[in-house]
């Protein structure tokens, strides 16, 4: 896990609003970092810290104002232009998002949703081969294929929908997965099972994963390395142990101090 897979350099995004009196918001401010093969990295910050904007630029859904994203040696905004280029990119860089409701067309069956994944592939599979791969992917995420394949998203619980989204990733086998608050709508007892799937994804497919989260506890559990974002910039970087034991930036210290803990209390009880 030493090769750099993706590198972000001096990434900046300015949003402009207003027709007459222009107002600029610096959403991402000169952000640079690398992610290595097989590494799990978390971008941690509160709302407005720029973490989701950074993720959307990396997914090539949003154009940066300045700076670059290099994936496997290619600048994703300058060098990937054709439909074929983009298909190649999304085959290798894909995402799992917060709200499983909005990610699916509610009238489509799970089978149709997963069959569509094959549009990203160059290889030609026959129907049987496709279904076999879909079954394997559903089993990888702890679902019983026969029970879900003919159903529609609204017939499934939130936890199952999130598992379907992750099975999509097991099917695509991308080199990099962006997971934006993938468990924030899921109850605590099911959250851990979902997080374990991401660890399995890394172990089995050697994928790199970028977690986007406001939850420092979640980040310290799943990550190899954590970047703390504040007002568009990265203010601190370190391993979970380093961040917990020796937070250097004042913002990180305040954040750690504000999060309720299990082993200490703010009050004398």
């Amino acid at each position: 896990m030493h090769m750099v897979l993706l590198s972000v350099r001096n990434l900046t995004k300015v949003y402009r609003s207003g027709l007459i009196r222009h107002k600029s918001i610096l959403a991402v401010d000169n952000v640079s970092f690398d992610i290595k093969e097989g590494e799990i990295l978390s971008l941690v910050g509160e709302s407005g810290s720029g973490k989701t904007t950074t993720a959307r630029i990396i997914l090539r859904l949003l154009k940066p104002t300045a700076g670059s994203v290099m994936f496997m040696g290619k600048d994703i905004w300058d060098e990937l232009r054709t439909r074929e280029d983009l298909k190649w990119y999304w085959r290798h860089v894909n995402g799992v998002f917060q709200d499983p409701f909005s990610s699916f067309n509610p009238t489509h069956r799970i089978k149709d949703i997963l069959l569509r994944v094959f549009n990203l592939f160059d290889e030609n599979y026959d129907k049987d081969a496709k279904m076999k791969l879909i079954y394997e992917a559903l089993q990888s995420v702890g679902l019983i294929p026969e029970e879900v394949i003919e159903r529609r998203p609204f017939e499934l619980s939130g936890g199952m929908r999130q598992r379907i989204l992750i099975s999509r990733i097991f099917l695509i086998k991308p080199k990099l997965v962006l997971a934006d608050e993938p468990t924030s709508m899921i109850d605590a007892t099911l959250r851990l099972g979902i997080l374990k799937l991401f660890l399995k994804l890394r172990d089995e497919l050697k994928s790199s994963i970028i977690f986007i989260t406001h939850d420092l506890g979640l980040a310290t559990y799943v990550s190899d390395r954590i970047l703390i974002m504040y007002k568009g910039g990265i203010v601190e970087e370190g391993s979970p142990e380093e961040i917990l034991k020796n937070p250097r930036h004042e913002y990180t210290r305040n954040l750690l101090d504000s999060v309720p803990k299990l082993y200490t209390s703010w009050f004398k009880r």
Binding site: S47, T189, R269
Partner: protein, 328 residues
């Protein structure tokens, strides 16, 4: 004397397709000068319990049976509208999750307080009510200027703190806080929690029932923790015991899956490996027979599928409802 006693409480949502048994036979006690946390995941009935005790009972929610005694008064023996008039806001107060919805947006905070307080206590004039509020705001370190503001001019955290000051102005015996911090960002959550704690240590209320899905937050403030699952209490004990030595299989799964930024958490998670839950909580219209947790429980036995376990006192003030312990 206990500030709150609940016995055999059933509160259902009466719908055309059946009744949702959100609180289905709950017994609990909140002692004087204590803070009791109620935890559980969405749909376990904890918010319905809060509404029932705070007399916030409007259709389709209905009190089906059971006793509620607050500060020595058995409110379940009074007609609901009379109980609401005499008890709500005076003996028991509720701080809900989203304070914005609870405050009328077109009235200044001080006028709103005057309206509420003079209605609850007819002996007070508007001026006296506002003076009381000024004194209380000082006591709780809230900016006095906020009394002159409209609700929308205050930040989310400040609105929540103002609501806490307002609902406790008449020194109710029991404060019920239902997810009071969950709509706020982390730094604001802490300030709101400190305000709730101050209401308690300054003796403005006798006891607090603190309801939240966020166990790390509950742990900060509570002496005792009640764990609910599918409309029932499954476990009660001291905060330390329930947190670090849970007994019920559901409590174990819940307590050991909390991810806080602490080095100890990795060690905790190993304890949950064999308890990784699948599936979802059951329908509360047609809950499963026997123990409601049995379809998801890795230790389920025959008896769990047939008979419902009762909540027993396993050790002193340590309660659990599980056949594993009942059979011993």
């Amino acid at each position: 004397m206990a500030v709150l006693e609940v016995q055999g409480l059933k509160a259902y949502y009466m719908l055309r397709r059946g009744s949702i048994k959100a609180v289905d036979g709950v017994d609990l006690v909140v002692e004087d000068k204590s803070i009791v946390g109620v935890v559980g995941e969405s749909g376990c009935g904890k918010s319905t319990l809060a509404r029932a005790i705070a007399l916030d009972i409007t259709p389709p929610l209905k009190l089906v049976e059971g006793r509620i005694v607050i500060d020595g008064i058995e409110i379940t023996r009074m007609p609901l509208d009379q109980a609401r008039k005499k008890i709500a806001g005076v003996r028991v107060a509720l701080v809900p999750q989203a304070a914005m919805n609870a405050i009328v947006p077109t009235v200044k905070i001080k006028d709103y307080i005057a309206d509420i307080i003079t209605e609850k206590n007819r002996d007070l004039t508007r001026k006296e009510a506002i003076d009381l509020a000024v004194k209380r705001f000082e006591e709780l370190n809230l900016p006095i200027e906020s009394l002159e503001r409209y609700p929308f001019e205050l930040s989310g955290g400040m609105r929540q703190r103002v609501l806490i000051a307002l609902t406790t102005l008449l020194n109710p015996a029991l404060l019920i806080a239902d997810e009071p911090t969950s709509a706020l960002d982390v730094s604001t959550q802490k300030i709101v929690l400190i305000t709730i704690y101050n209401v308690f240590v300054k003796g403005l209320v006798k006891s607090i029932l603190f309801i939240s899905h966020d166990i790390a937050t509950v742990r900060q403030i509570s002496d005792r923790i009640i764990v609910m699952y599918a409309g029932k209490i499954v476990e009660i004990g001291s905060t330390e015991d329930v947190l670090h030595n849970p007994l019920h299989p559901y409590s174990k799964a819940l307590m050991y899956s909390i991810l806080t930024p602490e080095l100890e958490v990795r060690g905790r998670i190993e304890k949950v490996e064999s308890l990784m839950l699948i599936g979802e909580p059951p329908s509360l219209i047609n809950p499963p027979p026997g123990c409601r947790f049995h379809p998801r429980c890795p230790y389920a036995m025959d008896i769990c599928r047939r008979e419902e376990p009762t909540l027993i006192e396993l050790e002193k003030r340590r309660f659990v409802a599980c056949w594993i312990y009942l059979n011993k």
